[in-house]
Every structure is written in C-alpha cells, then in structure tokens.
Symmetry: C2
Subunit: 225 residues, 2 copies
C-alpha cells in the first residue's frame, strides 16, 4: 500500500530535493506551499513548477500572512543583507520568527486529515546553523509534540518528520538531486529577486546556492535561463 | 517594567477569562485572533468586543484557512453534532486537526517579534478532555519546542505557555470571570449560530456553556440579549 507524505515545498532546491528523496522511498506526495507574506511571488511559481515535475498527488497553496507580525527582512521593509560572507553562527535578519514551527504545524494538520504519518521538510543544519528551527533537536521536539497534539497521535500514530538533508551541505544536496535527475532550473532561491523574478546574485541564499553548485562542480541550470 | 503577553483570543468565554487573568497578573496584552475557516464570523465579532473590553495594547486578526485541509465539522460541510450528552473520552468531529499547534506556533512568532516570552491560551482539560491539544502534556511539549524553535530561545529566553484554566471546569471559569468583573454577554460560544449570529443551544459548546452557568448558579448574560 502506498503511504502519503505531506511535504513542505517552497520552490527552492532543498525542499525539491527532499520531496524527490521521499518519492524515491515510495511515498505519494501531498505538497504544501505557504505564502507567508514574503516579498515576492517568484517562489510560489517555482513551487508550482516543482510540484508538477514531481507529479504530486495534491498541492495546496495556503496564505498565512506572517508579515502581520513583521520581525524579518523577508516579511518587512528591512533590507535583505547582501554581499557579505556567511557567518554560520549568526542568526540573520532573514530568520522569520517561528516560521518552521508554523509550517510544520500546518503540515501536521493536513497530514492528520489525509491519514499520513509522515512529513517532509528540506532543512539542512550544516549549511546554515543560524536558523534555530532547522536544527535536529527542533525537529525531534516537533515529532514529540505531534504525537501529543493530534487525535491520531492519541490513537497511536507516531508522526515522523523526515529531514533527509539534515546532514548534507549544499553541494551534497545538489549532487543527490542530480543523481535523482532533478531539474534545478525550475527552482528559485533568491530572497530578493528583481521585478521579473530574476535572482539578485548577492543575498545569502544566492551566495549559498552559487557556492554549492561551484563546490559540486555542476553548472546551475537556473543561470542558463 | 510591564511585560507583554500574546493571548489567543477566540471570542469565547474561556479565552476572555484567561486573558483577563493574565491582565490581572500585570501583563500587557497582545491579542491574536485567527480566522481559521470556521463556518461563521460571529466569533470574530465577539473577539473584537472582548479585545476592546480588555483594552488590549494590540489586536491582530489573522487568516489561516484550515478549511483547505478539511477534517473537522467546524471547517467543512460535515454537520456539527447536536442534542447529545457530552462524552469526555471521545474526540468529537469538532476537533480541528492540529489547530492549537498552529495557533500556538503563530502566537510564538508574534511573541518573538514583540519581545514577549509569555503566551496565554484558554484551554481547559477537565471540561473537554476529548481534544488532545488541550492537555497539559501538549502544553508542556509546546513550551519545550518554543525555546528550541526561536532565535530568542537560543539566546536564553524561556517561553512560557500560560493555561490558567487548565484545572478549572466551566462553572469554575465562569465564577472566576464574574469575580474579575467580566461581561460574558460579549462572548460567543456556539459552533453553529443562525445567520443572525444567535446560538443554536444544541451543539456541544452551547450545552457546556449552559451547564456551566447553571452549575455556577449565575444567569448567562448572553441569553438576555
């Protein structure tokens, strides 16, 4: 019997790779994309393209306007940091308070409705340890919470949060994705694209992506378009 | 110095009482009301009236359409159960998958932005043990998660989730609220009001409310309007 997994799909390369790994393990995918008030919609278009490529069973796009709270350069007028070396010990202004907690909570709600006990998220700790809600101890605490929080949990379901990229750096992720035949040209990573949706090549996310492709010695297909 | 607390305010009598108790302890209140796709808007109007009565510092109303997932009689076309005795061991169809996890995650996000380490929720375990996400072990697991999930948590903040009604039944809550001078005529409890917003008097929530006022031997002011 095929099991469903709810996968958080952002349109970036990490969640695409994590989703593809879950699919390769035999899961049928229910993709959840959250419009959380980020400043651009390019990510959402990428999520749709990726969901189509993956052939997901269902795709829900949900609005949750975290910009109502502010507190992040991704959801407010605070400029996104650019042209700087990445300091893995710093929590950057692009951190969105409690974002992954909100995302996993929503994924859990949908998982319970569809009868899935598996949730997939593309966090990776090594690349950017600055985001607290990407750490293994956060994922473990959420799994514990999930089984207490739900009717299915009370009835014995043990929810699993799969974070298959947890121990991989960006180059490893890209190599893994290329092995799986993924088309990274569909993905979008930039925090601050221009009005036509083209990456800035200067924000942390662009910097990490470029370094990852360089380290993997693979050309970034999104650069060729 | 006055501390802020983020309080989840639904428009029902529990969250109103919990908020008033936090205010009496000296907290300045940031009220968060979630339009989660419930079938009626009467609750939201009640939340506004209650927020005004409490004199909250800020009130955010946020849309999170949990009806996109379905799975509850509160967010779908499944009829709300009526005219039945309450079985405290059963998980009713009015359970909304992961709702309190989603709500607390959002409250946590806002709390982090405003610099609050206190979150207030009006869950009460004794009245309706059927909702898994109202139990003390759920609240404790969320507190643990909150400190791992956030930048503030990493920096040493210990988030507290206050559930001051946790050990109270409905009559106790009403007595407590009357002691604090609350106007329960502002609140709305019914799961399935008529088009004019009047309670059905037949759903579980109406039944519990009526029994609570009867047990406390206090007339329900909402019934006089």
């Amino acid at each position: 019997m095929v099991s469903d997994a709810v996968v958080l799909l952002s349109g970036g390369l990490d969640s695409y790779t994590a989703a593809a790994m879950a699919r390769a393990e035999g899961f049928r995918l229910c993709a959840l994309t959250i419009r959380y008030g980020q400043r651009h919609s390019r990510e959402i278009e990428a999520a749709r393209a990726v969901a189509a490529w993956l052939g997901v069973a269902r795709h829900i796009e949900l609005d949750v306007n975290l910009a109502a709270f502010g507190g992040s350069s991704l959801t407010s007028e605070t400029p996104v940091p650019k042209d700087r070396p990445i300091d893995p010990t710093e929590i950057p202004s692009t951190y969105v308070p409690a974002r992954n907690t909100v995302f996993l909570a929503l994924a859990l709600g949908w998982a319970e409705v569809v009868g899935a006990s598996d949730i997939v998220i593309g966090v990776n700790a090594l690349d950017y340890s600055g985001y607290p809600d990407c750490r293994p101890e956060f994922i473990a605490a959420f799994e514990h919470l999930a089984s207490l929080a739900t009717a299915k949990g009370v009835q014995g379901t043990r929810f699993r949060v799969h974070a298959p990229l947890q121990a991989l750096n960006k180059a490893d992720i890209i190599r893994k994705g290329v092995e799986l035949g993924l088309d990274y040209g569909l993905t979008h990573s930039c925090y601050d694209p221009d009005p036509r949706g083209r990456p800035c090549h200067r924000c942390d996310s662009c910097t990490l992506r470029a370094a990852g492709f360089a380290q993997a010695d693979i050309p970034d297909p999104a650069m060729a378009r």
